[in-house]
């Protein structure tokens, strides 16, 4: 067996984070499904416990991807770990962003009467998903790791510019989508207290889950990089052995 350290996909801190995420998510679901129906939206308002927190997790994931990309692009801080964090965060963000669109569509059907409308919030969110799906596709292009990381980092910085557009779209344009959920939490809010607390718990749950997923996904990237390097080492060893045999035969 080799004495070289191998990156694991689990650790004490990660396991604790996973357990906390699971408890928070389970509590959010139980409490969210038991929220009282509202006058305006009836039982559909219960989706507030998952839909805005999913959107928040997507924002967070894409912001972390952009930050990691900056750290990779900046020569002083350039390290492979930032590229791994960027791709891990982008992939997790794409999952959260897709779920934001799906849960929003499920909420929109009974409240607006349509599954989809070309509203500014919905359209900019769909664009955000497409941009980061493109970012992941760009990473599949077969080039050397450094070129791939540089191209991806620049693409992430372009894509992340859509996040503030998504967030403020409900203020900048007249939209069918309701206003920002967090903006409704004020002393004079019209949001029931139980709704506010369950939604905030949802934000905590999705943040913890994001952290746990990114920790695992980053380590998967590290393992893939290690495997790629090991594969190259093995191939080089085989080549050397082959050339030694050829030389011995020639002599």
């Amino acid at each position: 067996m080799s004495d070289r350290p191998r990156p694991a996909t689990t650790g004490g801190g990660t396991a604790l984070l996973g357990a906390a995420a699971l408890v928070a998510l389970a509590t959010t679901i139980v409490l969210g499904l038991r929220l009282p129906p509202t006058v305006e939206q009836g039982p559909y308002a219960r989706l507030i416990a998952v839909h805005p927190p999913l959107a928040w997790a997507a924002y967070l994931a894409f912001a972390v991807c952009a930050l990691a990309s900056v750290l990779w692009l900046w020569r002083r801080t350039r390290a492979p770990k930032w590229d791994r964090l960027a791709v891990a965060s982008a992939e997790v963000g794409v999952v959260f962003c897709a779920l934001t669109l799906v849960t929003g569509s499920i909420w929109g059907r009974p409240t607006w009467g349509v599954w989809w409308t070309w509203d500014a919030r919905l359209t900019s969110t769909a664009l955000l998903l497409a941009l980061f799906a493109g970012y992941l596709a760009l990473r599949k292009v077969s080039v050397d790791p450094e070129t791939r990381a540089r191209r991806a980092a620049i693409a992430a910085l372009v894509a992340v510019a859509d996040v503030p557009i998504v967030h403020f779209s409900v203020d900048w344009w007249r939209t069918l989508h309701q206003g920002r959920s967090l903006a409704q939490i004020t002393p004079q809010d019209d949001l029931d207290g139980s709704y506010t607390s369950v939604m905030l718990l949802g934000f905590v749950a999705m943040t913890l889950l994001y952290g746990w997923l990114v920790a695992h996904r980053s380590r998967v990237e590290a393992l893939e990089a290690r495997l790629e390097a090991e594969g190259l080492d093995l191939a080089l060893e085989e080549r050397r052995a082959e050339s030694e045999v050829v030389e011995a035969v020639a002599r």
């Binding site: 499904l33 779920l99 499920i106 009974p110 746990w212």
Partner: protein, 57 residues
């Protein structure tokens, strides 16, 4: 039916996140196994032949 949309929203969230988490965990486990196998193979091939026992241990 009205409750159906709510359950669908929660259901799709839990199912998707659960499946994605399992996929990431499985990918990590498989990579680790592959890596362990390739490292063991390379250390065996690098070892002198005189140290090997007939059963390959």
């Amino acid at each position: 039916m009205s409750e159906g949309y709510v359950f669908a929203g929660y259901g799709v969230t839990v199912a998707t996140l659960g499946l994605y988490a399992l996929r990431v965990l499985r990918r990590g486990r498989n990579l680790r196994r592959t890596l362990d196998g390739s490292l063991d193979a390379s250390s065996r091939s690098a070892a002198p032949a005189v140290h090997r026992t007939p059963d390959g241990a």
